[in-house]
Symmetry: D2
Subunit: 425 residues, 4 copies
Amino acid sequence: MSKTDLNIFETMESEVRSYCRNFPTVFTQAKGHNMWDEDGKEYIDFFSGAGALNYGHNDEKMKAKLIEYIQNDGITHSLDKATTAKGDFINEFNDVILKPRGLDYKIMFPGPTGTNTVESALKLARKVTGRTDVISFTNGFHGMTIGSLSVTGNSSKRKGAGVPLQHAVTMPYDSFVGEDLTTLEYLEAYLENSGSGVAIPAAMIVETVQGEGGINVASSEWMKKLDDICKRWGILLIIDDVQAGIGRTGSFFSFEEAGIQPDIVCLSKSLSGYGLPFAITLFRPELDIWSPGEHNGTFRGNNHAFVTATAALDYWKDEAFEEGIKERSEMTHEYLEYLVQEYPELKGKVKGRGLMVGISCEEPELASKVAEEAFNRGLIMETAGPNDEVFKLFPAINIEKEALKQGLEIIEESIKATVKAPVAN
Amino acid sequence: MSKTDLNIFETMESEVRSYCRNFPTVFTQAKGHNMWDEDGKEYIDFFSGAGALNYGHNDEKMKAKLIEYIQNDGITHSLDKATTAKGDFINEFNDVILKPRGLDYKIMFPGPTGTNTVESALKLARKVTGRTDVISFTNGFHGMTIGSLSVTGNSSKRKGAGVPLQHAVTMPYDSFVGEDLTTLEYLEAYLENSGSGVAIPAAMIVETVQGEGGINVASSEWMKKLDDICKRWGILLIIDDVQAGIGRTGSFFSFEEAGIQPDIVCLSKSLSGYGLPFAITLFRPELDIWSPGEHNGTFRGNNHAFVTATAALDYWKDEAFEEGIKERSEMTHEYLEYLVQEYPELKGKVKGRGLMVGISCEEPELASKVAEEAFNRGLIMETAGPNDEVFKLFPAINIEKEALKQGLEIIEESIKATVKAPVAN
Amino acid sequence: MSKTDLNIFETMESEVRSYCRNFPTVFTQAKGHNMWDEDGKEYIDFFSGAGALNYGHNDEKMKAKLIEYIQNDGITHSLDKATTAKGDFINEFNDVILKPRGLDYKIMFPGPTGTNTVESALKLARKVTGRTDVISFTNGFHGMTIGSLSVTGNSSKRKGAGVPLQHAVTMPYDSFVGEDLTTLEYLEAYLENSGSGVAIPAAMIVETVQGEGGINVASSEWMKKLDDICKRWGILLIIDDVQAGIGRTGSFFSFEEAGIQPDIVCLSKSLSGYGLPFAITLFRPELDIWSPGEHNGTFRGNNHAFVTATAALDYWKDEAFEEGIKERSEMTHEYLEYLVQEYPELKGKVKGRGLMVGISCEEPELASKVAEEAFNRGLIMETAGPNDEVFKLFPAINIEKEALKQGLEIIEESIKATVKAPVAN
Amino acid sequence: MSKTDLNIFETMESEVRSYCRNFPTVFTQAKGHNMWDEDGKEYIDFFSGAGALNYGHNDEKMKAKLIEYIQNDGITHSLDKATTAKGDFINEFNDVILKPRGLDYKIMFPGPTGTNTVESALKLARKVTGRTDVISFTNGFHGMTIGSLSVTGNSSKRKGAGVPLQHAVTMPYDSFVGEDLTTLEYLEAYLENSGSGVAIPAAMIVETVQGEGGINVASSEWMKKLDDICKRWGILLIIDDVQAGIGRTGSFFSFEEAGIQPDIVCLSKSLSGYGLPFAITLFRPELDIWSPGEHNGTFRGNNHAFVTATAALDYWKDEAFEEGIKERSEMTHEYLEYLVQEYPELKGKVKGRGLMVGISCEEPELASKVAEEAFNRGLIMETAGPNDEVFKLFPAINIEKEALKQGLEIIEESIKATVKAPVAN
């Protein structure tokens, strides 16, 4: 096969394209934690599709199931008609995930992407409560369609809306205003004081760890208190677990550590296991007051994704799996702490939880430079935060430890190359 | 394999589920125009995933390409990084579709569903013009996320938003107020009169044939005049070709008949050819003022869809293909006209263009009853229109003529069974 | 007293000032239909404070009552505390106006200006119905605060809002799209069709004759049909009678001719009789679900206005009063018809009802030029319409007939001077 | 004259009426600090029309000027045409108020009420900056029309809107979240962090002392810092001085103490001196980019108010006048501090600045009960705060000291009567 001309993307694809600018090569194959480009260069993937490939690329078991399904002409597309593949997924998800965690949720298929599940969650919360406003949090990221964008903090994304974004009030996330100021005191003052200008909202929507926002972690204590506040005021708590869920922080749901049971949960990204478009919205059965078809969409039933998602749940049947994530997390955190100590030029700070981690550098260009150097050395890694001040490590949660170590070492080399060189402005 | 318990959907899946209510069985396999359920019952599919399966189910050529790709561990998920599969799709789409039609468009990958492409189109139009309002049309359907929903006409879907829908003005679609009243005269009066309360909008968004809205057809003359109005006032014309595009009306784009070149085009549904989630937004290169990443999303790069979409374009290399759609359209229209004549109890009216057709019945329950009878007889067909007053035929555009005939005959039998029986209220 | 330097207005008053630009002199005294400037020049007033001085300037009887009240240190300002003057007004308004017309309304004091009454009417309609949208009409004018502005048609006024104006849908006023097209057929189609994108609104707000919008008259038939539509759909009908009310069209309320009883009525401008700030909102008692103080304001109780408004009601005790307005209307209409015939260069059309009349000229500059010439000849008259294409006659409704005739003759002279001269661009 | 039947208000006036419920009698005359009802009962007025009667009722000098003007048939109503009375006011306001304070402002006549000036200020700020959002503050009160209401904090007033209130973000006023938390640190964090979800606004609108909100005082230090923040970010600072201005806090403008020069100032209430509807908007000349007539209104030119307002400015020519307010303030504050000490049952806290003061009681019913007892004893006084927890003293700023003392003593008696009696729930 002839090589692809990179020019085609520049001339034919919209200027809105993004990641291909940071990783300027044409990828062709992938397996586990590795990707290869058309030149045969091998990369370790610490990006994992921004959390869409938590089990690595093209997992063998899922692959076998998927090929078998396609070969047998299993239903591919069926809108939301009942199919065998869908029934299997629902059963397995209930048995392997919900029941063991004592979670009693109904499942909605809102369309195959993160923003679909968020929009459906916001709609439902407004319908159930009859209220319009939603409280979101600083540096939250929930998607690019107008409903999700209205609860997203990033100013350049918001400007892209082209219309004023409404019916949302942004409250300070944990530690937003320095470490000492308790942001929930502020939030509560707004709810308690009837002259505050902030109405009791339909819902609060929050990520337990903010990915795009800069790997900001809400403490379990903060999450519990937030849950209490929601209960006290009759506000629905929506956890957007699109990026932090499916094992990324160590457990299937990211909110397990805090010991809370949200009213509504948004899942997508790694849910299919194989990187296929797939999302679900979970909610307490009492909230299920939807009319048939009130929220619909063509790709609510991506059967290929049902097949791989069902296969992916096998991982969670083995308790050792979570243990494995924990080990990898500890390895990673330790190494990152070492890097921050060893390279004070970074003015770095380790952020994150589980395998959703990064180093925040005081100088924004530094993080981008480190990521660029890493790419040149065969490691794929993105940056995050309002000023791209964080380099962000998202290895597969089942990555071979040797590969993890190798990736971390590449980062160290990239830091060395960066802090020694003069930083470009 | 044991049979799936239909109960699982009732107890575990949200009340929002819809099509599984009309087609209450568990489907397991599909090929071409056929579907089979777990009982082995065979169905002819005149629904085609609401236009997502224009080439039928599990097309052999696409299937082979897809399995080969998966077997070789081709990249599955890559955000919007450059991949061989993506490059191939862009090249082929340009060579087979755009260039031969004299269309100079850039391609944006806005996320894999119809509502993603619509939201991106609206954002871009607002960004380019600096205006906020968009004119949409009565009975238009553009998606369920807040931006798309604001330009969607259906009142029950709109109520589902839970917030007022804004920045959109609904103008009357072709023939909305009776056949005689020229709706564009009304529209122009609003634009011309500076006291009309309607500002010059960023864009108009329109379907050439409204699917969900009731198989309403805008005449070529109306479309041309609309295009003229847009040009005269510097308003961008967005054609939402998600349902009417990809051959459904006879040509690749539904607007080819009218001889216009829209500023922005939204495509999804059958774009992947295989029923996989996939969407693109096309626009004139001068409009491409996006900042990198200003609109993003996890599933912009569904490489499986790139592979099958590229294979699907093969159909369009053969001129006989469009001819074949035309023949099937004529067969269908003739048969529907015959049905309307033969069964005056329907008080029916044939609607539609190409293979996007239906019969509108004055009594709303009639259409649903006919569809129900058809399902019992092994034909899958949905209803449309604000009161579900239309039964809607969406056979594969390359369906075998024998199967098409067979399906039409089932419809006749279903009508017979319906109009003879007393209509339930 | 030294003369006022006109410069002071240019240097110290905001650029937003308007009428002082068209009538560039400093006025100092006024009586009945006359005004005088500091140079002692006398003017006939065909402007009447845009309808705020229907009884002419400084009416002797009202003046006497007002001076007596002030001399006795009657309450001037009292928020909405009960005062003798307020009680007298309420009693008299009920006895002289409401009861004889069979109108059972409660009275709200919403603040002293037209926009205050409109905002209160919109709030109440939304509160009563629980709906958010309001239908307004093309070229309607209802005020400059955001709520009223959202139902106002004029595009330059709307742009002044600086924010998108929402929760309002503009429907075509009588004869908006040419004489032949029945605009209410459009409106009904929008209400009937559940896919129209237009929800059943809380209310419709309409002027029976549009003043600012260009002296457009809704026929009694159109008004009756509109009232029917509102009743059929449970929509509240708000008549904004701020400019057309208080005798301007011949009867106290402008809607008496159509024989309808609106749900809510907005009054201001000439209500005080003396040109003092004063407004009330009337509504059916069943609608009075306000909470105490839910809408408030400092100047709800302008007692000086109560005093003069009560005195003004004396006029309506004499049936000859309405007869007198009718005579003056006929005189005026006849003369205007004569002018249109006599001066075809105007391409004029007589518009209006009662003493709310004007001539619309096809060339917009013509109307302004005629008004300018009239001012030079001692007649004060404004222009209206989206392009200021109408010169607008608003004489006092009790103007001496001789003065009316004199004013009309000045208009003829001004037309002569204008159509003979070349029109400036 | 026969006595007014209080029933007329109950049967004919809307339920929205408010103050007449707390002061259930019919007032008939007023002079200085006294009011009398129809039974001849005399009251001391510590309410002063909620700040609209800072100079007391029916001031003799203003009264004489007004009667003379009316007797001479001076122009009463003139829209915004130039009049002698208007010219005189502009000159005098410039000479007596603006120039001596080094303020270079243009004057806009936006309509005669507080909400008119606020709406005009918001429009202008949005027009000048091209931005839509405005930052307002918790417990702020700016008016009842939709634009002003959107920046008002009170939840029951906001609900009255019937539509979501938008384009405003409420930030914490000085000391909102406890005494220790610096609210401006929060505000700055929102502006600085590009992921905060809060865009740089067009303006901030703030009262230096919040009247309706509960007599909350912003410290001079806080105001200065707010002004700095505005300047740093290019945000316009709007001071709503409708209630706190015109001497209420000791100086003509309430912001003089802080030493700042706001970009835009809103004045109304006591501006006319006599309790007549009147308002102006002041702004830096560079901001005056209004188009002629872009914001208009019928009662922009209330000439009676020009006459009394001009006369009222005489007070400010004498430096002893401000000194007199200061003395009365000190007397009042001392007495209130004494009351809080003496009656610990109040759990009271003295609030306010100048003669805009009150006592906040921890038990909300207490404040209302004290006000009720005071009314029975011949003192008129209202309550404020989100839960009416403050009784609010607004004596005339030139009240005779003896009367002030007498009023304070009535308050003490009312407290005694209240704290001894069991509090009703």
